[in-house]
Symmetry: C2
Subunit: 243 residues, 2 copies
């Protein structure tokens, strides 16, 4: 499947950075040079550079060039999630075996409280799924999801044990676009202590998120409770001139 040109260029430069072709502190070839190398216009090159900048790989400097500010060493903690690296990439990089255990699966209707907490309309029919994610046999994530039933009527406990996103994308042809995540830390609840390898810690790192599909329908509310010393989140912020 031939993707857009700017995606190919993005991918190429990103791989080169990760492989060390361009090291921390190096300057990329100038935009005009990349234009020739990539066989496209400056606009297209700039688009790829823009994405990599937003992700914290590059720092363009007016009049000087585009500098690489990603160093593989700094970025290598056991497990990082966020702008710079996706969940599955991180698992793969650390060659971790990922297993999923479904510990809860039910259908329910959103009441007032749940509606306020999740953002679903009251009376929405939902699936409520609770899962434990283990990496190399060690349970480090307790996932609690609510899915909008109308968007995925055929969801079963079995599918939840594999990958729900595979089911959505490959079976239903749904494409997932945007998700908003919120990171907090809270005291551990009994489920955390029961399910997770907390090693005596009494708190968890929580990521809650709302996920939208390409039709603008919020179809998932997630709460992921992480063992804090095994996970960290990386974010890159580009400071706007706007106050």
């Amino acid at each position: 499947m031939p993707s857009a040109k700017y995606e190919q260029i993005y991918k190429k430069i990103r791989e080169d950075i990760l492989a060390g072709v361009y090291a921390f502190g190096d300057f990329l070839p100038s935009e005009n040079e990349l234009t020739v190398l990539c066989g496209c216009t400056r606009n297209t090159v700039r688009r790829a550079i823009g994405i990599l900048t937003a992700e914290g790989f590059l720092l363009p400097q007016h009049g000087r060039g585009v500098q690489v500010i990603y160093s593989p060493e700094t970025g290598k903690s056991l497990f990082t999630v966020g702008g710079i690296e996706s969940f599955s990439e991180a698992a793969q990089r650390n060659s971790l075996r990922v297993t999923t255990r479904v510990v809860g699966f039910e259908e329910l209707r959103a009441d007032e409280t749940l509606s306020r907490r999740t953002g679903f309309d009251p009376d929405s029919e939902l699936f409520h799924v609770q899962r434990i994610r283990s990496f190399s046999g060690e349970p480090i994530i307790y996932d609690e999801n609510y899915f909008l039933k109308s968007e995925m009527p055929g969801l079963t406990r079995k599918i939840a044990g594999r990958s729900i996103y595979d089911y959505l994308e490959k079976e239903l042809g749904m494409t997932i676009t945007t998700s908003k995540r919120r990171v907090t830390a809270e005291p551990a609840i009994p489920e955390d202590i029961r399910y997770l390898a907390l090693h005596g810690l009494d708190f968890v790192l929580i990521v809650t998120g709302q996920v939208f599909n390409s039709r603008g329908v919020m179809f998932e509310y997630t709460q992921s409770r992480h063992v804090p010393d095994r996970v960290c989140f990386i974010e890159s912020a580009v400071r706007q001139k706007i106050i």
Copy 2:
């Protein structure tokens, strides 16, 4: 100071969303209509839309239009930092009095250990600053910063008590561009317990970051230790088609 057109458009649409002119679920005027309204080309409009999309405000839908997926209610926790809202904006929105107390100020030279932890070159001359940030009189952030002395030779304890960034930008004319942040949770250390209003909690939410100036020099390493129940971080992730 007249900023770029795309920034003005970005600002305008953002304000309209926050003010409720465009509500959650609404579609924006089409790009062609905005082109007329803003008196510019489609490219410029699309640029503003692109930023707001990356920040989690908008969801463009191919062939349908651009939908607003930000709702003021959902976004309103006491204090949020991240893509969608800046630190000072959040403080202002909640009309909180911000005060800073300097509890440590020293000069030192980076040894091997500190170098590996912070990313500064070994033997770099650094300022080490420790500060408590209070909001409405309540101490909720313990900030530990290392600054590269060569980039800001005149830093004093007094300046640290006001705003170091004001000093850098207004006095030295430095512009800050990019920062990489890393979010974790860890058990509280004695300093946390001594300085912060933890209300019995025994863990903190930690944000570590490296800040680059416009010359690509990493001049700051920060570790902010937050009272976990008063802070949360919001991030927006746009899922690329790229695996």
